[in-house]
């Protein structure tokens, strides 16, 4: 078998033992890798209905098919568990050296069961597994944890996926970090914390062989060179942060907890401003010829010297969304998230919810007392120093940080229960996951894509904003094409998330990013790696299967049609300013679009998957379990 080893490593933290599961080549042909294989491993290994923080919720890691080869942007792995934020599938992706080193160990995937009594660092040293005491790593941030492990093992090629202090404290939206990249969303860090799993380290020394290296090298070389041209210039020069001004122009830039879609100081927190005044260097993930990570430093004020990589989602969430116009504070906020290992989107949207709740008089200064701030904080929109202080309280679960570290859905439930209020109406979440930086009120196809998202509303799992923004459809209206568009864009994204390939390469195959432009080259890359003979239709199937697997997982966990929903604000509160003012997604519009979407997917009106459909996709055991 080329491209795979045919072996999944199972590790039991409770019993401190491990075993090997062999998988046939046909299994890999169905599940491929990344989020698809990780979700499948979750399906096979989880106890349905379990508490996400229980030992019955496994950590499932699935490597990418191209990891460790020269295929550009193919150094990525998938991570899946049952999410403590949504109680549905939590599937994330992360890039870089961890996946490459894991590939060389000889394992295609790793499933971590049980929970440890003591803090542990799992070390996968080629075929050997070691349980290392992690007590000395406690309290270290994500970057320092990785360095400390390299020093302990005296090998700078050891790569680790770790949690920081937020994961140790089980901040519900803590994430898993490796090499400065994050499996960012859905709370994996909290699950690792519940298992007392501080880090998974890998050292792989085996060489990787592929079926047809000459073809693979030629294709990779051409794509590598193409990736230096206009198809990636947005990512290389300004990075995704360039979206700040684009979204502002469209009235879609979430401002002050999504109360508005235009920010008066957008220029000061734009990608252009960042590039001009704060950029240190652009760096890349392993195996990536594009390099989009804009390392940026705070240069003035109390946060001088704070440095981290900035991209659009973190930037909108902690800039305009908090009404903050000081890039130095924004950089520090994102640094707090990255170093302590938490989801910077959810962190920003949790602070913005707290700010709105403060401005509306439900929270007071008193609520934000901490050791550092005995008089409390004036948590009004725009107060960067107060926002940073609250971020640190969330990280440490100090004071009100105890409640805020649960994310907006649970925090609002607690506060509304205590104070007889309706702050839940200001939570920008659906299924318990906070929304992305594109306002659904002015992007109706994206609103549908967000509502039906299997891991919650996510810009990475659906590209449904594309037809809205490109003008293929009227972004303020709904029509009968939206179901098909939402299906197409989510399954398109699922192909990239399964191989996985970073989507930023999508125009570098032929200049066109659509299926016709990308699938033929992707099929060639897969075939040169594995020796298979996949065709165009097979690439389509990869995405459809991956999505069906995740949906099936949710159905087994009790998903119902009503769970496909949007934040209250997108349905009821129109914005008052800018080009998207006056619009909401009404319940009628949403339900109509959901009907269209379930039809397009070939599902029942309740959103359930017919047995026959699952059998046709090559998932007979899933058909048996949840098919109707």
């Amino acid at each position: 078998m080329f491209g795979y080893y045919g072996k999944i490593l199972h590790i039991d933290l409770t019993e401190r033992k491990h075993w090997v599961e062999e998988k046939p080549e046909d299994w890999y042909k169905i599940w491929i890798g990344g989020v698809s294989m990780a979700s499948r491993l979750c399906w096979e290994n989880i106890t349905p209905g379990c508490d996400p923080y229980s030992p019955e919720n496994p950590v499932c890691i699935a490597n990418g098919i191209f990891a460790g080869t020269p295929v550009p942007v193919g150094g990525k792995y998938g991570l899946a568990s049952k999410s403590p934020m949504t109680n549905f599938i939590g599937d994330s992706l992360s890039g870089s050296w961890f996946s490459v080193a894991l590939k060389r160990t000889g394992w295609d995937g790793v499933v971590i069961h049980g929970a440890s009594d003591e803090w542990v660092n799992i070390f996968i040293d080629d075929e050997r597994v070691e349980f290392r005491d992690a007590t000395k790593l406690l309290g270290l941030d994500t970057f320092k944890t990785e360095e400390a492990i390299r020093e302990q093992l005296a090998d700078d090629q050891v790569r680790s996926a770790t949690i920081g202090p937020s994961g140790e404290h089980m901040v519900r939206f803590a994430n898993v970090t490796n090499d400065g990249r994050q499996a960012g969303r859905t709370g994996h860090g909290a699950i690792w914390g519940s298992k007392k799993l501080k880090a998974v380290s890998v050292r792989g020394t085996q060489g990787i062989k592929v079926a047809d290296p000459d073809t693979l090298n030629k294709l990779s070389f051409n794509i590598t060179k193409e990736a230096q041209g206009p198809h990636t210039s947005k990512y290389r020069i300004l990075g995704t942060s360039t979206n700040v001004l684009n979204m502002n122009k469209l009235g879609l830039l979430p401002t002050r907890n999504y109360q508005e879609g235009v920010f008066e100081d957008a220029e000061k927190v734009s990608g252009e401003f960042l590039h001009e005044h704060h950029k240190v260097k652009t760096i890349a993930c392993a195996q990536c010829p594009i390099a989009c990570e804009q390392m940026s430093i705070a240069k003035k004020g109390p946060f001088t010297g704070a440095m981290t990589g900035i991209e659009y989602e973190c930037l909108f969430a902690n800039g305009p969304n908090l009404g903050i116009n000081d890039m130095n504070a924004v950089i520090r906020l994102i640094e707090v998230a990255d170093r302590s290992g938490m989801d910077a989107i959810t962190m920003g949207l949790t602070i913005s919810w707290a700010m709105e709740t403060f401005e509306k008089g439900i929270f007071t200064r008193e609520d934000f007392k901490s050791e550092k701030h005995p008089d409390g904080l004036d948590l009004r929109f725009g107060n960067g120093e107060a926002a940073v202080a609250v971020a640190e309280m969330i990280r440490d679960r100090e004071g009100i940080g105890q409640i805020l570290s649960e994310g907006t859905r649970m925090a609002s439930l607690i506060i509304d229960d205590q104070r007889n209020t309706e702050t839940w109406k200001w939570t920008m979440q659906a299924k318990g996951l906070e929304t992305a930086g594109y306002d659904g009120r002015g992007l109706k196809t994206f609103a549908l894509g967000s509502a039906v998202g299997v891991r919650g509303p996510c810009h990475n799992r659906t590209a449904a904003y594309d037809p809205d923004i490109q003008g293929e459809v009227d972004r303020f209206k709904v029509d009968d094409r939206r179901g098909e568009l939402a299906k197409d864009t989510e399954e398109y994204a699922a192909v990239y998330d399964t191989l996985p390939l970073c989507k930023f390469i999508r125009r570098c195959f032929t200049g066109k990013a659509d299926r016709a432009g990308a699938w033929p080259t992707i099929a060639q890359l897969v075939n040169a790696t594995t020796g298979w003979n996949l065709q165009y239709e097979d690439i389509d199937l990869i995405g459809e299967r991956a999505h069906a697997m995740k949906k099936a997982f949710n159905i087994r966990e009790g998903w119902k049609r009503a769970d496909d929903d949007l934040p209250y604000r997108w349905k009821h509160d129109p914005m008052t300013k800018g080009p998207s003012a006056g619009h909401v997604v009404t319940d009628e519009e949403l339900e109509y679009m959901k009907d269209l979407y379930y039809i397009a997917k070939g599902w029942t009106p309740d959103g359930m998957i017919p047995k026959q459909k699952l059998q046709d996709l090559g998932m007979p055991d899933v058909a048996e379990a949840i098919g109707v």
Partner: protein, 165 residues
């Protein structure tokens, strides 16, 4: 950093341009072994922190210390190119060459038990594959003199004309 005072060409990396992608390592290991394995690369990226990243290969020192150190006389320097050739019959993997090299540019292959070092792909018409593949043109085949010239020109452009956009 120790300085090579050589007249010979070597593969140089500009740390301002290096993004740390390690593509040079994949390509080098494939060229030399037929497999992708950064452990077998003869050029190595070094990442000290998030932004301080570069790659290092043999600097073709004059009177190369590795050649002098080898107790088996297995290492020989080509007088024209400066490239270090290793006689596989003589090398016994004692690793004295590794200790002698200030650049950490030599390694021992655990499978073959032989020292390995960058040979600038001298048998390939296209030259060093890492230079060919480097997506950011951070790598170049250069001499210390040429490198110094480039630095001077960049300094003047930066300081006199203003920073590069």
């Amino acid at each position: 950093m120790p300085v090579s005072t050589s007249k010979y060409r070597y593969v140089d990396c500009d740390p301002d341009l290096c993004i740390g992608c390690q593509i040079c390592e994949y390509v080098c290991s494939y060229t030399k072994t037929g497999e992708y394995n950064t452990y077998r690369s003869r050029i190595r990226t070094v990442r000290v922190d998030e932004v301080l990243i570069t790659a290092i290969a043999c600097r073709t020192c004059e009177n190369a210390p590795c050649v002098i150190a080898c107790p088996q006389n297995a290492l020989e320097q080509d007088p024209d190119t400066g490239i270090i050739h290793i006689d596989n019959q003589k090398c016994d993997a004692c690793a004295w060459c590794i200790e002698a090299c200030d650049f950490g540019a030599i390694s021992i292959n655990p499978a073959t038990k032989l020292a390995e070092i960058c040979d600038q792909c001298e048998d390939l018409e296209e030259g060093p594959q890492c230079v060919l593949w480097c997506p950011k043109e951070a790598l170049s085949l250069t001499t210390p003199d040429q490198r110094a010239q480039k630095s001077r020109r960049e300094l003047v452009k930066e300081e006199v004309v203003g920073p590069k956009k």
